[in-house]
Every structure is written in C-alpha cells, then in structure tokens.
C-alpha cells in the first residue's frame, strides 16, 4: 500500500515540529531554570520517542484498523501538549536548587519528565504508526521524516531570531494541527480552525514567562523601582535590559578594597535571566571618551585587576577585547589611552543594546566568535584581553562542566599568542574558586601553549589575584624585572596579590587575600617546571586540571572519579560546591535514561517476546552510531564555521537532508546491505581528513565555508540515511510486527547516544567518539535482520 502525499507531508511536518520543539524547549527551560536542569529534563523527555514504539507494538492491530483517525489524534495531541506541557510546568512550584537538600523536589522533577515526554511521545507515535502502516514504503516516509527535521533545524534558528520564544511555541503547536489535518483530510477545516483558536487563546496564559525566583533577574526585579526597559530574543539568549534607579547596579568584580570612589550609573543586561553584564553611561552630552571627557565614575576601571597591563606600557596601539559584552573592558582600554580597540562580541543583539561604546571612533566592532575572529585576523595585537564573561554562579556550581569551549584550549591560547606582537600580552580574567580550579587549569593550558611556541613559561607568566577574581598575564617574550616591579606596585596600591611572576619569592605572595598557604604560587611554580613535576601535580590535584585541547574541549570539566567517595561523604556537610554538577548530572541522566529505557522498552520486549535479538542489536547500534557521527561532525565544524549556533544549524540540517536523500534512493542502490560497512569506512577515513583539510581552509570567507561544510557532510550523511529504511523495508515484508519495535529501539538508542557521546568525548576526545561509531556500524552490518 502506498502512503498518500498528504501522509508523507504530515510526517515531514510533525518530525520538523518535534525537532523544533526540542530546540525551543532548551531555550525556554534555560530562561526559566538553569542549563543543567534543561539537560536532565530533555534527555529523558526524548525517550517519549522510544515509548511510542512500545505503544504501537502493543496496539498495532487496533491502531492500524483506524489509522487515519489515530495518527491525526496523536498529531493534534502533539499540538495541544507542546503548549500544554509548558503551561503546566510553569504552574508547578519547583525549585531545582533544593534537590540537593531534600527529596521532596524530586517528585516534581519526575512530573517534569512526564510532562515533557508527552509531546515527543505523541509526535513519534504518529510517525511510527505511519511507518508501520506503510512499512514497505518506509524509505519514502523515513525520507520525509529526515528532511522535515533537517529543514526545521535551519528554520527554527532563523525563527528564534525573528519572534519571541512564546510565539515560536505557538507556531510549533499549530504545526501539530496542520499535520493532523493532513492525516484526516475529511475534517481538515475543523481541525485547523479548532487548533488555531486553541493556540491563539493560550497566549495570554503563556505570557509573561515565569522565571525561577532564585535567578538573578528575578532577584534584581524585586528591588524597588527596578524594571525591564527592553527585551531582545535570539537563539543565543533572551536579553533583558534592566534599569534600577533607586538601587543602581554596581557590578565591578575584583574591585580593589582600596577604591573609595563611587561607581558610575550602570544599566544591567541579563542573558536568560542570569549572567549579568552592565552598560556604562555615555560621557558628557552622550558622547564617549573620544569627543568629550571620560564619563564620570569610570575611574574604578583602573582599580580592577584587568587594568594591570595598561600600567606595563605607556600606551597600546592595537588592543583586542574578546567577549566585550556590555563594553566595560572596551571603555577601560579607551580610558587607558589605547589608540585602537577591536571589540569582539558573539551576540549581535548585545552589540545593538550596548550601542554607544561600540560606536566610538577608536573602536572597531567584530560580531564574531572569539576563536574565529583570531583565526581570520592577520593582525598582530599588543594586547588581547579576554573579559570575564560567564556569571559567578555558573562558574561556582560547575554547571558548564560539559559545555565545550574552544576559547580555553591549548591550541586557542597558542593561536592568540601568535597573534601578538613580540612583547605583547594576553590577559585573561576568571572568577576565583575556593579551592582554585579553573585558574589552575588556565595556568596549565598557558604553560603548555607557551612551550609549543618555544617560549619560556617561567619567564612569561604573571598572576594577579583578588578575593574573587584572578587575572593571568601571559607575555609573548620575557617579563623583565621592571615589569615585575610595576606589577608589584600596581598590586600593592590596590591590595591585590601578585601570586606569580618571574623571580618572585614565595613569601612575597598571598599577602592581602590570604589563602591557608600560598597555593597558587606553589602550583604555578610546579607547572612551569614541566616534565615529571607537572605530571605529578596533574595526578595529585583533586580536580582535573590537565589542559583542554580542541579534541577534548572541556575546560570546565574538573571532576575526578577518584575524589568521588570523599565528595559524597562531604555532600551533607556543606561540600555541595565541591561537587561538579554538570558532570554528576550527565551521569544521573544516563542512569535515569537507562532505567526508563528498560522500563518502557526492554521489559515489554522481554515479557512479550515480540522483538528479535537481531532487531534490537541492529536498530540499536545504528541509532547510537548515527548520533555519534552527527555530534562529532558538529564538533569538528564548530571550529571551522566559527560559531556554535550556525555550526549546529548547518550540520544538523545538511546531515538530516542528505540522510533523507540517501533514504529516498535506497531502492536504486545495489548491494544495499553493505551500507553500514561503508558508513564505518567512510567515517574513519573522512573525519580525520576533513579535520585536517578544514584547518587548512580556515582562513576562507564565511560564504565559502558553508558550502564546503555541506560538501564534506554530504557523502557520509547520504550513506547514513540508508541502513535504517532498507532494513525496515525488509522487515516489513517478512516480519511486519517487528517494525514498531525497530522504531522504538532506534529512538531510544539515539537519546542515549547524545549522552554517551559527551561522556566519551570528555574522557577520550572526539576522535574516540568517531572510532566507537564506526565500530557500532560494523556491529550493525553483522546483525542485519535477514542476513
């Protein structure tokens, strides 16, 4: 039996809507709650995909008898629940921060899982049912599924630039009803009309988004007179501009205890209701330091540690500020007399909102990701400043543990050093943690990068510390005794500690902001020695401080399994901040996903003895392998395309589109059974090749990079689209009752896959992820269902 064009279109739309919903949910939950909770909730909710296979497997006959109405109902239910789940979640008084203290909140967390699993479950049931019904035509349906998702990945990125997340949610809800109307064309008008009414009516309930009372934005808005003056939304973040006339913002991390003056009027900008950055006031008559006098109160910029380099030289000709944000560091460079300042900022809306400072005549604005900017620049700077970008909260709780950062890798630091004039400085400021973690790792990373450039770490590094920040100064060349003396004076005048500098003695450090012992001096001294001393330190330190690399770009990962028993013992004794939540949550997510997968998928399979072992192994391994390769590709191309967001959109879209095309031509390919083997071979050959080639082509303009990336993805993706539909088609012919199980197993495996890929990459790097993926495809080839 052939599916109608309407059915195929419905599958495409629904698949696209489900993917868009996943991306949107990540956005919405990041605004309402925190990133780590988002990860936990979504990773489990996606198991709704797997559960749909179980449901169809069990009720196959009944569903098939009334196919049109069943598929339409699930599609419409997706429309209702995509919005409904979020609405209900907004009304549950849930505080994720309390989970560590009490089990009462765990129940609510469980409720969140169930809520958000429902929409995915509904969409997947409608799609899986169509696959089951028209099994022998599965290549065509699977193609629609992949192409729908592929288009959606690109579209939703664009959409999130144009509309508020709530509007995007409404559009996704409508898509569910459109798919329902296509499945049940007899009642198309009624479904569309009813659905639209429902979605439009929901708007007043959806707005405003209720943000956790403990997030920084909520706290700021509770101050009398504080209010939001502007909001800008994009797939990068929801930016809220807040004015607080009665109790002004006074954001000055690392400000010297010797500073006695006032701070200037600041306007706060929150990203996703946290991550405060501030805008400084324009100068006299709205003009900046170039035309008028410097704005009042900015004198404080000389009393923060990042001002140190400006004291080392009379003036700087060419300064780059990386992560310029609200522009405080840019203003600091200007007031310290820099002749030319390049301000690099990732978020275009941030540049827009910050306005004045980016328009100063001496300022050149670059809307780019830091790494891409450096890479594409053929300039040499006297000073590169990496501003303190992420919030203290995120840094303290270790929630970024698993987010990749290509800014703080050995390759990145080396690249920045290469873009310095001889004698130029790279200055990086970070929050200080107790006991120190990222500062130590940053030291280690810089030491290794310096060695790569044949510079002398012991002579090129200085570290300035306040009670809550640390600023690392790396010079391309030796820091001379005069410079050390200048730094000494700079620090003494401001009660900062000069914890490390060439020729400095242990007793000279740790004077103002006193740690139990001069730990940072000891650590830095051991790191610059290198060799076995450094290795021993990496081993003995209870946090993971081995430098991050481009292949293992997890700068914020500090967790060591060895320390886990000690941390667990301290958990109830104020040891919380020592535990790195990002990592623990990944493990928790894997464990819970496994339990859920067993409960909803494996147990029914075992008890009902309905699925064959081969079905499980084959569809499980290609489900795992597909996402492994996709994730590895995104990782490789993030560096190349220079922007995590665009890389994800380009890679995801082209992967799915080409896999869709591959799926569509399955019938015309001879010897289709060797497709998994081909995938393994091509992956092993192509990915390293692409990696090397892309490094070589890094200097190309963006317009050329996108087509090159797509061309790199095409052959592998094309092949990867084949194993699923070709096997499913054969299955449909011989054992049609196996089709829903194949769908469910494949769905479950892909959910587990993204988490495992992260785990493997954290410990062994992305090359290992590719290796494991190839192995999985070989396993698939050996267990082809009717081989």
């Amino acid at each position: 039996m052939k599916p109608s064009a309407a059915n195929v279109l419905a599958v495409g739309i629904l698949s696209g809507a489900a993917l868009a919903y996943e991306i949107l949910l990540i956005r919405l939950l990041a605004i309402v709650e925190w990133h780590h909770l988002t990860f936990l909730v979504i990773s489990l909710a996606l198991l709704g995909y797997g559960a749909s296979g179980t449901l169809i497997g069990l009720l196959r006959e009944r569903f098939l008898k009334r196919f049109a109405i069943t598929a339409a109902s699930f599609a419409a239910l997706f429309g209702v629940m995509s919005i409904g789940s979020f609405l209900v979640s907004q009304r549950i008084e849930f505080n994720s921060l309390e989970i560590i203290w009490s089990t009462r909140e765990l129940g609510k967390l469980f409720l969140f899982y169930l809520l958000f699993a429902v929409p995915f479950f509904c969409a997947a049931t409608a799609i899986g049912l169509t696959l089951t019904r028209f099994g022998e035509q599965s290549p065509r349906i699977y193609r629609a599924d992949l192409i729908g998702a592929g288009c959606s990945a690109a579209l939703v990125t664009a959409l999130l630039f144009l509309v508020h997340p709530v509007t995007a949610l409404q559009i996704i809800g409508c898509a569910g009803f459109v798919a329902a109307a296509l499945f049940l064309s007899r009642h198309a008008m009624a479904i569309l009309l009813g659905g639209t009414l429902l979605v439009v009516a929901a708007r007043s309930l959806l707005l405003p988004i209720r943000v956790s009372q403990f997030k920084e934005l909520s706290q700021a808005l509770r101050i009398p007179g504080a209010h939001i003056v502007q909001e800008r939304s994009s797939p990068l973040a929801l930016l809220s501009v807040v004015e607080s006339p009665a109790v002004p913002f006074r954001f000055a991390p690392g400000l010297s205890l010797s500073y006695a003056g006032e701070l200037p009027q600041q306007v706060g900008i929150f990203s996703d209701a946290s991550g405060l950055t501030v805008l400084l006031p324009p100068g006299e008559g709205g003009r900046g330091p170039d035309e008028g006098r410097p704005p009042p109160g900015v004198g404080y910029l000389d009393f923060v540690p990042s001002a140190a380099p400006y004291h080392l030289r009379r003036s700087f000709a060419n300064v780059a500020i990386v992560g310029a944000g609200g522009g405080a560091e840019v203003l600091s460079a200007l007031t310290h007399g820099a002749s030319r300042v390049t301000a690099v900022e990732l978020n275009p809306q941030m540049i827009d909102l910050a306005g004045a400072v980016y328009r100063e005549p001496r300022v050149r604005t670059m809307n780019a990701e830091a790494r891409a900017f450096i890479r594409n620049s053929n300039e040499r700077f006297d000073l590169i400043q990496i501003a303190l970008v992420d919030s203290f909260g995120a840094s303290a709780a270790g929630v970024q543990a698993l987010s990749e950062s290509y800014l703080y890798t050995v390759e990145s630091i080396a690249e920045m050093l290469r873009h310095l004039q001889p004698g130029g400085y790279l200055v990086i400021t970070r929050w200080m943690q107790v006991p120190p973690r990222d500062v130590v790792k940053l030291l280690a990373t810089s030491v290794v990068a310096l060695e790569k450039l044949n510079l002398r770490p012991a002579r090129s590094i200085a570290l300035v510390r306040t009670w809550n920040t640390a600023t690392l100064i790396v010079k391309r060349g030796d820091i001379d005794p005069n410079e050390v003396a200048t730094l000494r004076q700079f620090c003494d005048e401001r009660s900062f500690d000069l914890d490390f500098a060439p020729g400095i003695g242990r007793e000279e450090t740790n004077r103002y902001n006193i740690l139990d012992e001069p730990l940072l001096f000891d650590l830095a001294s051991a790191l610059v020695v290198g060799g076995r001393t450094r290795e021993a330190l990496f081993d003995q330190y209870k946090f993971f401080i081995r430098p991050a690399t481009d292949d293992r770009p997890y700068f914020f990962h500090f967790f060591k399994w060895r320390v886990l028993p000690e941390l667990l013992r301290l958990r109830g004794r104020s040891g919380m901040p020592l535990v790195e939540w990002g990592y623990v949550i990944l493990i928790a997510a894997i464990v819970q996903a496994f339990i859920a997968a067993i409960a909803f998928l494996l147990l029914p399979l075992v008890f009902l003895r309905r699925a064959r072992k081969r079905t499980i192994v084959y569809f499980g391994s290609i489900g795992l392998g597909f996402l492994f390769l996709e994730i590895a590709f995104i990782q490789r191309l993030t560096l190349f395309l220079g922007h995590p967001l665009y890389a994800a959109a380009v890679v995801l879209s082209s992967f799915l589109l080409f896999a869709g095309i591959g799926s569509g031509i399955v019938d015309r390919v001879p010897r289709i059974r060797i497709a998994p083997i081909l995938v393994a071979v091509v992956a092993l050959v192509e990915l390293p090749l692409v990696h090397a080639l892309l490094y070589f082509l890094l200097g190309l303009p963006q317009a050329a990079k996108v087509p090159i990336s797509i061309a790199a993805i095409a052959p592998l993706a094309l092949l990867m689209g084949m194993p699923f539909p070709s096997a499913l088609k054969r299955l449909a012919k011989r054992e049609p009752e196996q089709v829903p199980w194949a769908w469910g197993i494949n769905g479950t495996a892909s959910v587990l896959s993204s988490m495992f890929a992260t785990l493997i990459a954290v410990h062994f790097g992305f090359s290992a992820v590719v290796g494991v993926a190839a192995l999985l495809y070989v396993v698939a080839a050996l267990s082809t269902p009717d081989a």
Binding site: A396, I514, L570
Partner: protein
C-alpha cells in the same frame, strides 16, 4: 503584605506565650538534634575553621533561638534540619551550621555595635543580638524588612533595629561598627562598608548561590587601617594530596 505581617506577629505571640507559660516547647528535641548536627560538622572541619569547637556562648544562643518561628509556617517541620530553607522573595534562611560558624568567626564581644546587611528572615540578627550590645540591620525588600522587624520585636530581641534601605551604603548615622555581616551577594565589597568598619573590626561575607555557601570571606581592618581578606572553606577538603 499587611496580612502576612499580622499573621507572623500572631504566630510568634502564640509561641512566646507558650514558652513563657513554661509549656514544653514541642520543637526542643529537634533543636537539640540541630545543635548536635552543628557540633558534628564543626568537629569535622575544625582544621579549616582554625578552632576545635565553637565558643559555648554561640552554641547556647543557637540552642535558644526558636528557628521555627523564622521560617514560613508550611516549612516549620523542617526548621531544625541542618539545611537552608526558602523564605519567599527569592531569599533563604541560611543553614544553621553556616549561621553558627559565621557568628563564631565574627568574634563579637558583648559591648559591640554590629551592622547586618540583608536581614532576610531575621534569624541571623536574632542570634547575633544575644551576643552584642546593639545590632543594626538593613534589608532592601520592604515586606521582608517589615516581617523581620515585627518578628524580632514580638520575640523580644529589643536591641535590634531593622530598616528598609540600600545596604551598599551601610548605616552612616550609627557607624562605625565593630563588626559587619553581609548576607546579600555582591560582585565586590562595597567601599562604604569598609569605611564604616572600625580599625580592628571584622567583616563577614558568605559567598555562593542561594542554597550553597561556597566559602566564607573574612575581611579584617587592622589597627592602621590596612585591609586583608581570608577565605574560609566551610568543609574539610584539601585540594592537593601530599605524597607521604
């Protein structure tokens, strides 16, 4: 807001009545367990705190303040657990162990005049009030300031004055202070507070998120006006394993 204040007032009045008539305090066993938990934690972290135990005066006061009257009524059953609790308005009442060590590390004497920035529930103020001569406390959120003020008054902590104002500027009219305790987060230590601290005085700032204290920052002003800080980890943890 008004209703909230009245309700808090009535509750505390009823409780006070129960205490003063000598009726057995149903929370006494829970409070005793809390004291035990604090003592256990302190023993565990004695090296980090630089003292084998907290002064008995601090522990006596901890054992006397009715913490359950400082939390929302629905959370009273959990009031004496050694953990922070939400009190509304995005604020929390700190973990008893943290309150105890902060109070102890502040090292106040009976004649001291102390400033608290961030009154919250008023629990920390209640504990400190029994150890010093006068306590001034500022809170930016009006309803919290009202509730805490009313609560402290009815419970008989008469040497505490609460006002609603911007803590950044301290309390100039009654400065300088022997000690300052700042429970509201800030990106830096406000210069006006440093100025209002007497030479030889101590300032205490817990640093961390709403439900976690990462470390305690102890700010000292020496007799000659020099400022130093010291970070105290509230947990027994040495980051570097030494070779034996």
């Amino acid at each position: 807001m008004l209703i909230g204040t009245v309700r808090v007032g009535m509750l505390t009045a009823v409780a006070l009545f129960a205490l003063s008539t000598g009726a057995s305090d149903p929370f006494a066993p829970a409070r005793a367990r809390m004291i035990q938990a604090i003592e256990d934690d302190v023993r565990e972290t004695s090296e980090d705190l630089g003292r084998p135990q907290l002064t008995s005066r601090v522990m006596q006061v901890m054992a006397s303040v009715p913490r359950h009257l400082f939390v929302p009524p629905t959370l009273q059953p959990y009031a004496y657990e050694n953990r922070p609790l939400p009190i509304g308005y995005g604020q929390t009442i700190s973990q008893p162990y943290i309150v105890a060590i902060m109070t102890d590390l502040l090292g106040v004497k009976s004649g001291d005049v102390v400033l608290e920035v961030g009154t919250g529930s008023g629990y920390q103020a209640a504990v400190l009030s029994r150890l010093v001569s006068r306590l001034y406390s500022v809170e930016i959120i009006q309803p919290l300031a009202n509730q805490a003020s009313e609560r402290l008054r009815t419970l008989g902590y008469h040497n505490v004055t609460v006002r609603q104002s911007d803590g950044y500027y301290g309390w100039k009219e009654v400065a300088p202070f022997d000690a300052i305790i700042v429970t509201a987060a800030a990106s830096h230590i406000p210069p006006p507070l440093v100025q209002q601290l007497k030479p030889g005085g101590t300032m205490m700032i817990p640093v961390g998120g709403p439900f976690t204290t990462q470390y305690l920052l102890l700010v000292r002003k020496t007799a000659d006006g020099r400022i130093t800080t010291r970070q105290v980890l509230p947990v027994a943890f040495v980051p570097l394993t030494r070779k034996k």
